[in-house]
């Protein structure tokens, strides 16, 4: 799906846990996430901390969308 969205001319960031799969399917902007059943959350945190973590991940994704890339790029959390 990520390739078709890109092909349509829309920049897209792939947020996923298994980065090698994302690289194989051809995503160009990749943000690694927390875990397979909860990529954008962590149930062991309290709700406030969990939302803060999610916000950080989304902000990283927005940074990725604002960054020019030449090829496949993984944007690790800072």
């Amino acid at each position: 799906m990520v390739k078709e969205i890109e092909r349509a001319g829309i920049p897209v960031v792939h947020m996923c846990t298994v980065v090698p799969i994302s690289l194989t399917v051809g995503a160009n902007r990749i943000v690694p996430t927390i875990a397979i059943p909860h990529p954008l959350g962590n149930p062991s945190l309290d709700p406030k901390e969990e939302k803060a973590l999610r916000r950080k991940l989304v902000e990283r994704a927005l940074e990725a969308l604002q960054t020019e890339v030449e090829g496949q790029t993984v944007f690790e959390m800072k």
């Binding site: 390739k3 920049p11 959350g41």
Partner: protein, 349 residues
Amino acid sequence: MGKFKVVHYINQFFAGIGGEEKADHRPEVREEVLGPGLALKAGFKDEAEIVATIICGDSYFGENIEEAKKEVLEMVKKYNPDLFIAGPAFNAGRYGVACGTIADAVQNELGIPSLTAMYEENPGADMFKKSVYIVSTKDSAAGMRDAVKKIVPLALKLVKGEEIGSPDEEGYLSRGIRKNFFTDKRGSERAVDMLIKKLKGEEFETEFPMPDFDRVPPNPAVKDITKATIAIVTSGGAVPKGNPDHIESSSAQKYGKYDIEGINDLTPENGETAHGGYDPVYANEDLDRVIPVDVLRDLEREGKIGKLHRYYYSTVGNGTAVANAKKFAAEFSKELVADGVDAVILTST
């Protein structure tokens, strides 16, 4: 001559430990033959025996690839087998990646002949078909018999160091290796034969298939994110409570388009997942863990992004055919363009 010693790798499901709720199962080794190993054992007869079975949960492997690989390698090393077999993984994505990763590591780091088996669309296939033998299987465990029939002879040839035939003869996925051989017709004659067939519109087989590199170059970055409309797309099966379009829990035949106007937070009352390929407990508790609607709403209100697009698009990426996923996305991408969406956040589980 003694029997060849084989170590077999399978996931928590084929070991009978459990389904998705047990997918975080850490690697363990058992000195017995389990699940698909029984069929392999029957196939090997007196030639080889499975001395140990290593079991690891698919999510544990997928989330901790480097660690899991190390742990499993240590276990394999202990038995010093003549041969290592992983899977078959059919069309289970995380399992296929695990099988490919570990077969590749056992072969290239321990120097032990290895093979695995999976469906050609399994992401593990593209990742590892060049480095290890991957027997081509059907897309579900219904293809077990057929898979074992191909795995056993290829495995025995590998362990005996016999010559391996072409992908078509042996039933493995092409590794892109070219081999020289003698033929009674010279090149010019074969080329003319091919050309004539082509002109007649008949089927012909090239001797040099071109690799299929379908890469899409990245689009330019978003210039002003504070004015951009951002849409959410997911393969994580996010749906409104009740799954109104009945998106299938695996091998999805459709995608959904869902209105989130006025929704600031996803809750157990307004959202859930239709995905059958991971433990749904966390997503059903709070679907923001799969599609971050709450955070994007906050960012919208704070003026950090222009707008969260009114609709999100969702399907279940669980054994879903690549051709279907491609078709879904080609369709809704046109709508996204028509609706003036500037960027997409795509989440996967």
